[in-house]
Amino acid sequence: MIARFRAMKPQELAAAAFRLRELGIVLALVGVVIFFGARATNFLTGSNWQDIAQNVSIVVVVAVGETMVILTRNIDLSVGSIVGLCGYLVAATLVHHPSIPVEVVALISIAIGLGLGVVNGLLVAVARIPAIIATLATLAIFRGIDAEITGGKNITAYQLPDRFLRLAASKPAGFPALAWIAVGVAVLGAAMLRWAPWARDFYAIGSNPDAARFAGIRAGRRVITAFALSGALAGLGGFLFASRFPTLDSFAANGFELTVITAVVIGGVNVFGGSGTILGVVLGAVLVATISDGFTLLRLSEFWKIFFNGLAIVVAVTIDALVTRRLQEALRRRRAGLLVAPGAGADA
């Protein structure tokens, strides 16, 4: 085994580490399924899988956007507030104008999310406010706007038109509609990050912002793009959230950013930016949603979930940091020894 790793080129070694990372999540997932399957009687039922699939879908949609931001060595803490605000606006629009097509409402929601994301991007790239501070402030501001709009009232499911409520329940080709949307977003996101030059720039900026700039990448614009995408996908997430949980008040999706960031970090996206894959993030989201679902079935308090989300972030970051350090050391030794061609990037 070790001899095989020795024989690898640096790129292959990095790729192998990533495969191992994703394999680790799959193994954890298998363990979790076996554990809850044995403990909770209704865990391994078809309807429970549907539930998990629907919950995963919303997390995946928002997490793909968050991934883009974290790849550029930034963070977006405001996604929970954007989901809540857009979700409420979707529901309110449908209550007041029941005849608007659902697709149009979805587009409106995405557009609002996009606008809020651009605000984040401008604060970070132009006003040069560190992302953590900027999005902490917009988290509070967007939630405040949400509360002002709701005015303490809430919208319940029976105020909403039927065709909207049917969306989350519908199952084209035996698969929940939400899951189809999430698969589409994930595939599109992965394709962009693999082939689109502007999305490849996210990796370059996150790996080394100065080098990226010297290489002629317009880092500021790319960072704004990442935040805009994160906002737009959070807007789509808000639309999905409203269709899945149609009773909305100003606290809807409060703290959702934590679930999303947990999924992204467990999925192997480096919090220092520059590396990570959508496949890993999707697996991370599945793991988080499965654990959360199992906790609900075991009737454990909501707060155990929060506790485990937090613990998972710390554990994932620790493991990643240790593995990365080993990998970098190995690569450095290899380079010193074999004079391997430069440019073997850390971004797999």
């Binding site: 902490l136 405040g144 900026i205 506790f307």
Partner: protein, 351 residues
């Protein structure tokens, strides 16, 4: 520009001067809202509800000057005071229970410090994780209900008054800590180490500063301050609950950043943070006088936080000679070899 004008300009754009001007300005606005604002009792009591926020902001100041961040402080407060409440409810005297509370808070901060300092993990990710973990822990320890049977000999430190019921004890506690921590930060070797590490960690390490130990200590100190803030919180509100101080992170970070502490580390002052806390308290108080809802207040505080950094950036570039707009350029977040910070430490390491 002539020398005299430059010095005058420097005093004018000094951050603390601006804060004082802002405090006076908001004070004038508050007077137009309510004639009772200028009463001595009201002025003295203005900051009392925000003392626990101030104590956490003082702790966070040390962390931010070192170039790190600790967003778990409010969760440490909640986790430590529910443990305190459980120990007290089990029949232990309130003072040993309070010491246990401080011990727990320090241990939680130390855990952050070990992860960041020894394992070299990014403090943002670590404390984001522990923020959730500690707050979950708080609810697990004391689910739902609160404990509110603390003796008045204890609660007076958070909610008691001296001098004819006008001088809040909590204000004295806060000023005491501001002075003690100000001396620690600005007049001791440990304090100098923080500025050095925040300016350039690698250079600090090479010049023989025990970087790892200092960074761990700073997080433990931040935890301890959260514990002390927790005791004041229990005293002020008379009860310990698992959702204590939830949502106060915005105010804490605003006080630190508005206080002129550079978010990339290496700069900042204790008087600045104290003034910023007074300003935040005054603004919140004024908005309450104007009957704004809590969420609307959060919008304003969030905007204040953003404005503080933008203003800081503008002043910074003005001092460095000529305003340069962002030009859609990312500034580096890394601490290890920031050339700007390196150059800056020579110029203004300690305002």
């Amino acid at each position: 520009m002539s020398g005299a004008r430059r010095i005058a300009g420097r005093v004018l754009v000094r951050w603390e001067t601006l804060l004082v001007v802002a405090i006076v300005g908001v004070g004038i606005w508050s007077v137009t809202l309510s004639p009772f604002f200028l009463k001595r009792a009201n002025l003295l009591d203005l900051v009392t509800p925000y003392v626990f926020i101030g104590l956490m902001a003082f702790g966070l100041t040390f962390v931010v000057i070192t170039g790190e961040i600790d967003i778990s402080v409010a969760s440490i407060l909640a986790a430590s005071i529910v443990c305190f409440a459980q120990i007290f409810a089990a029949g232990v005297n309130v003072w040993p229970a309070a010491i246990a509370c401080l011990g727990i808070a320090t241990a939680l901060g130390l855990a952050n410090g070990l992860l960041v300092g020894v394992l070299n993990l990014p403090s943002l990710a670590v404390t984001l994780g522990t923020m959730a973990a500690y707050s979950g822990l708080a609810f697990v320890v004391l689910s739902g209900e609160g404990v509110a049977t603390f003796p008045s000999s204890f609660t007076k430190f958070g909610g008691g008054y001296l001098a004819g019921n006008e001088l809040p004890v909590a204000l004295l506690v806060m000023l005491g800590f501001a002075i003690a921590l100000g001396v620690l930060l600005h007049r001791t070797r440990f304090g100098r180490y923080l500025f050095a590490i925040g300016s350039n960690r690698e250079a600090a390490r090479l010049s023989g500063i025990p970087v790892t130990r200092v960074r761990v200590t700073v997080f433990a100190l931040s935890g301890l301050m959260a514990g002390i803030a927790g005791l004041v919180y229990v005293g002020y509100f008379g009860s310990a609950r698992a959702d204590a101080a939830q949502g106060s992170l915005l105010d804490i970070v605003t006080a630190v950043v508005l206080g002129g502490v550079g978010i990339f580390g290496g700069t900042g002052s204790m008087p600045g943070v104290l003034l910023a806390l007074i300003l935040v308290a005054e603004v919140r108080n004024g908005m309450q006088l104007a009957n704004l809802s809590g969420q609307l207040q959060n919008i304003v505080i969030g905007a204040l936080l953003l404005a503080a950094i933008i203003a800081g950036n503008l002043i910074g570039s003005a001092q460095e000679g000529g305003f340069q707009p962002g030009k859609l350029r990312r500034r580096r977040k890394g601490v290890t070899s920031d050339k700007r910070a390196e150059a800056k430490v020579l110029v203004d390491s300690n305002p």
